[in-house]
């Protein structure tokens, strides 16, 4: 029976493939620096991973190898980067297995993290156990300082939820002091870790700054009809609308707010606002819409990055928030390796903890493993997404206020 034969062959092939693990030439000098990652190439997380994380990885690998590789002083030469990648299928267990495979089977020199807050948190303990630096970029959590203590090899690049919420509150407080907005805020948030943490931190910060939450609801991930929520938010007559939202909802909220002609003085949406496809979809009508993240589009490094990004990914643009930071985190890794001069993960971790690095998002110096000076609030102005806050960052733009009417 052909099925029997085929099946036997398949099993035999499987065993053979598992048995013949790549031979290890421990004593020979390495010919490449092995980099690995397990990331969502399929499943629900692919939307975020394939805009923010994976392209940044690919651009970096291409850049490094185009420059001849990473300089290792101990060898006196540059070594190219060689990549092993797995698809975690947006499944937590697969992701962990993938990292374990990279660490123990492929014995890669460095592991780049998966996409998303949940997966970075889940990857934390294993990367810690195997002693790999953990460059957690796409993870925003208030527990970051605590986790950085628990896992000294982990580095958190986007700040905490509280930071994000406080930044927004600072921007709003200033506007209120100038008499431009009242104290009422309509707040909605997605019922996912990220949205909830931001909303929780936001509520506390708003309260402390004596703002009043005229409307405050969370909605489940995957909800497609935002109209009832928006109608209620509209009815609250607040000057400020804040949505701690995720990509598909950010799109739906924007589209439906425009439709309802819901035009508060401040219109803020979170993840997805900085996506290139967001601009592509809504064109000029999102003028003045605020969101999370931001960049300094004037910076030459970023302009160059845009070009290289487009070349590598077939013309697509990076998002204006975590994608450039992801690339920057890899620049930090590279510089740390070069300063250490050999593949010594403990020393590299130490260097990242203490060193100061030049990246496409400016100079980065981590404090207690946290990057504290990233863009927290951005705004679309004239077709570009500018960082507004912190105001002391180079390239900080002036706020466009009030948000202009939606264009039809």
């Amino acid at each position: 029976m052909p099925g029997t034969l085929r099946n036997t062959l398949a099993v035999a092939a499987a065993i053979a493939a598992l048995g013949t693990a790549p031979a290890v030439f421990g004593q020979q000098a390495p010919t490449a620096i092995k980099i690995g990652w397990a990331i969502s190439k399929t499943g629900p997380y692919v939307g975020g991973a394939s805009i923010t994380t994976l392209p940044a990885y690919q651009v970096w690998v291409k850049d490094v190898n185009a420059a001849g590789g990473i300089m290792l002083k101990s060898l006196g030469k540059k070594l190219p980067v060689q990549v092993t990648e797995y698809d975690d299928r947006s499944n937590s267990d697969e992701m962990i297995k993938g990292i374990e495979r990279l660490a123990t089977q492929d014995k890669v020199d460095f592991i780049l993290p998966p996409w998303g807050t949940a997966f970075n948190l889940a990857a934390g303990p294993i990367l810690n156990r195997y002693g790999y630096p953990h460059l957690a970029v796409t993870a925003t959590t208030d527990r970051a300082p605590e986790l950085a203590k628990r896992w000294p090899n982990s580095f958190w690049f986007l700040g905490t939820s509280t930071q994000g919420a406080h930044a927004l509150v600072d921007v709003l407080t200033k506007l209120r002091t100038e008499g431009k907005i009242g104290s009422n805020i309509a707040l909605i948030s997605v019922a996912d870790q990220f949205g909830i943490e931001l909303a929780t931190a936001g509520r506390a910060a708003f309260k402390k700054a004596k703002f009043n939450l005229a409307y405050d609801k969370s909605y489940p991930l995957g909800l497609q009809d935002m109209q009832p929520i928006l109608t209620e938010a509209m009815r609250s007559n607040a000057d400020v609308f804040v949505a701690f939202s995720y990509p598909p909802d950010t799109f739906a909220i924007t589209a439906q707010a425009r439709l309802l002609n819901y035009n508060p003085k401040i219109f803020y949406t979170a993840v997805g606002t900085a996506f290139p496809v967001f601009k592509q979809k809504f064109g000029a009508s999102i003028e003045g819409q605020m969101g999370i993240g931001g960049i300094n589009p004037q910076s030459q490094e970023f302009k160059d990055y845009l070009k290289r990004h487009a070349e590598t990914t077939g013309g697509s643009e990076p998002d204006r928030w975590a994608n450039p930071v992801t690339y920057a985190s890899l620049q930090i890794l590279q510089q740390a390796i070069e300063r250490v001069g050999r593949i010594d993960r403990a020393a590299v971790i130490k260097e990242i903890q203490t060193g100061s690095f030049d990246t496409i998002v400016g100079k980065v110096k981590l404090q207690n493993n946290l990057r504290v000076d990233g863009w927290q609030v951005g705004q679309w102005q004239g077709g570009e997404y500018y960082g507004l806050y912190p105001e002391n960052l180079p390239g900080a733009h002036k706020i466009l206020f009030p948000k202009p009417a939606w264009t039809k």
């Binding site: 969502s40 190439k41 399929t42 499943g43 629900p44 692919v46 939307g47 991973a49 394939s50 805009i51 947006s90 909605i188 019922a191 609801k217 969370s218 909605y219 489940p220 995957g222 909800l223 497609q224 009809d225 109209q227 009832p228 929520i229 109608t231 209620e232 990509p247 598909p248 799109f251 739906a252 589209a255 439906q256 425009r258 439709l259 309802l260 002609n261 997805g272 996506f275 496809v277 592509q280 979809k281 809504f282 064109g283 697509s316 039809k408």
Partner: protein, 285 residues
Amino acid sequence: MLPGLILGGMYALVAMGLTLQYGVARIMNLSYGEFLVAAALATFFLYTGLGVSPLLGLLIAVPAAYVLNWAIYQLLLVPLVRRAKNRDMLEVDSILATFGMLFVVQGLAHVLVGGQYYSYSYLSIPLSILGSTVALNRLIALLFAALIGLALYFALTRTRAGMAIRAVAVDPVSAGLVAIDVRRASAFAFALGGALVAAAGVLVSVFLTLNASMGVVFTTKALIVVIMGGVGNLLGALLAGLVLGLAETAVARLIDPGLTLAANFALFLIVLLWRPTGLFGGAAR
């Protein structure tokens, strides 16, 4: 009220094809949603790349999907139908086979367009009707859903081919006895179901943000609607879709937006507890 109707109309639209595929051809098609997303993404590229309007896209996607699904039925599913001794076996086999198909279609979509979100604006013009504001594109989608649903309903109840299809849905064995070519009727129903899901894909693409991994969301919705309405019952699917849409909107407005999806599933479960074969279902199995 109107937004709820529009949402419900979308659910019904998404589910109509599955009613035919499962109710008549007895194929529990788990890759259903992938075909919807494929049609939606194709529309996106036709519109943004070539400037083909989505409504024109219907004319391309629907016949193409019909032919494709007809071929899939004849090539891939007929062997399963032939070897199945009874309905249970076909159900299990079709679940397994279409589960494989789900991965193939999704994988192809990923290779072709990657995993990013796709979204475009088309006829996103506000209209004020009965005190609520709705988007023209959603209204058009609803109108098309209603048109397609009506056309299908009349086709099924007033034409010979429709009669044959309904007979196969009720009892394939007896249908064979009265000289209905069951295989042909099933292939036709499956292909027509495929064409309908493509139409749904084109229509939802004008107002939803999608990526290549989201097919399963629609498969789920369609399954829930079809089962709640009663397998093979078009009116049941329409009604179930509308009820779910209205409930979702009402819960969001009156109780808590956080419970909308929970309310949807709870409603579905309660209906099944009350009527174990759906709103308009016949005997089980």
